[in-house]
Amino acid sequence: MEFSTILGAWVAAGLTLFIFSFLYKDNPFFKAAEHLYIGAGLAWHIQLIIYKIIKVKVWEPMKVAWASGNWFTIWMIIIPTILGLSLITQFIPRISWLSRYGFTFMMGYSAGLALPAGLATDFTNQILGTIEPFANIVNLTPGQLINALILLIGSISVLFYFFFSIEHKGAVKKISNFGIYFLMIYFGASFGNTVMARFSLLYGRFDLLVRYSNAQYFYATNWIIVGLVIYFLLEKFVLNKVIAKNS
């Protein structure tokens, strides 16, 4: 097996166990891994931006446009680059107002895009999905009809719960309270899904640790666990006593 693979196994197992060590208590290994994650995560996204956006959408098209004298493309690259660079002026108080140009472009674009897209997917499509089954009511089985009615009544009652223009009393209160039941089922289902997603990540981590505890990886997981246990024992029985004695 290649040296880089074995080294990778030790690094991956080490970093995984350093983060898991937080389950025992906060410790220097976890803090180091946590800070490493911040730096590595930032670098990962920055390199993606450099190689997938700056290089592909700015540098290379600019070279081609410059060589062919295509001034339209040149300006279409220079303008957003200047708008982007204007954001950096946030750090220079005297000219920080320049960053508004970049921010306002992003806000305008995002608002203009979110409005129709949000209305189409989250508003009209949701209403359509709720009432569509009733357009075909004669072909629905009793079960499908009951489901369609539950969907309709549930959606309306949840909307009543979020309708604050009138006071919630009498019939409105009863309907909005009924909406809470549907909201609770949705929250419970979302919670269950989140738990399962986290656990599937956890299984993946355990799988990696088991794989790297093999002889071909020189028992990386085992040795790192032993090292961490020795550190925590030393900290508990030696280091803490020395610190207490000195203070």
């Binding site: 080294l7 990778g8 196994a9 690094v11 991956a12 970093l15 983060i19 898991f20 937080f22 800070h35 490493l36 994650y37 730096g39 590595a40 995560g41 930032l42 670098a43 990962w44 920055i46 931006i49 700056i54 290089k55 959408k57 708008l83 982007g84 954001l87 140009y101 970049g102 306002t104 472009f105 992003m106 305008g108 949000g118 989250d122 508003f123 949701q126 209403i127 489901n147 539950i150 969907l151 549930g154 949840v158 909307l159 719960y161 039941y181 549907f182 909201l183 609770m184 089922i185 949705y186 929250f187 419970g188 289902a189 919670f191 269950g192 738990v195 399962m196 990540l201 956890l202 981590r205």
Partner: protein
């Protein structure tokens, strides 16, 4: 000065907001070209926004190191982690693999970034269990519904759930997966729909307020 500090930025929001909004409803080649270009513009501008965050992060950790605040040594790991991945990216020219062979960047992703990222999120599984204990205490009927929906969703995704269901409720001629799918597609969707419609209305109103310059919080102070 008011013109370049305030009115032009507000005009930019209005122009790009209206044009992007209109291009969604105008099925014309020019409108499609506009959307194509403006998406590239957004990618480029947003890319610089990440540099803004990076500078801010580096400055915060630099200050920690300079002032030697408690735990300043850990801030060095931020720079170290950043350097390792950046050097790997430069050496590998931003490629994960080259001719089927994993590059230094690919190695760094598989053995540094991915373990850190996946483990950080998987640790939350343990904390979710303690949260579940607190949130699933059944004190009322809505809390009971929350508990049942969460429990069925979890059991419906694991073989143990199927075994328990088959032992206790085999006579119902349904499976736990059927119940799970029904919860997701009917009552849970009803709850979700109400929220989504509310969010869509809120987002539409906020978008209009931004486009017409009523909402200006993002402009900062003068």
């Amino acid at each position: 000065m008011n013109l370049i500090k305030k009115h032009i930025p507000l005009a930019i929001v209005f122009v790009f907001g209206i044009m992007t909004l209109a291009s969604y409803y105008v099925p014309h080649r020019k409108s499609e070209n506009y959307l194509e270009w403006i998406n590239i513009w957004q990618n480029i501008v947003a890319a610089f926004a990440l540099f803004l965050g990076a500078i801010s992060l580096f400055y915060a950790h630099y200050k920690k190191i300079e002032r030697k605040v408690d735990g300043w040594g850990y801030s060095l790991f931020v720079y170290f982690g950043f350097l390792v991945i950046m050097v790997a990216a430069i050496v590998s020219d931003g490629k994960i693999s080259d001719n089927g062979k994993i590059t230094f960047l690919g190695w760094s992703f598989n053995n540094i970034y991915n373990p850190l990222s996946a483990t950080m999120f998987s640790v939350l599984a343990f904390f979710i269990i303690s949260t579940a204990y607190r949130s699933f205490r059944i004190k009322s009927f809505p809390a009971f519904l929350l508990f049942i929906a969460g429990l069925v969703l979890m059991l419906g995704n694991i073989p143990l759930g199927e075994i328990i269901w088959d032992k206790l409720f085999a006579w119902t001629n349904t499976t736990i997966a059927d119940i799970k799918n029904w919860i997701i597609s009917v009552p849970s969707t009803a709850g979700k729909r109400g929220i989504m419609i509310g969010i869509a209305i809120g987002a539409a109103v906020t978008s209009l307020k931004i486009i017409f310059g009523i909402e200006r919080g993002y402009m900062g102070k003068d």
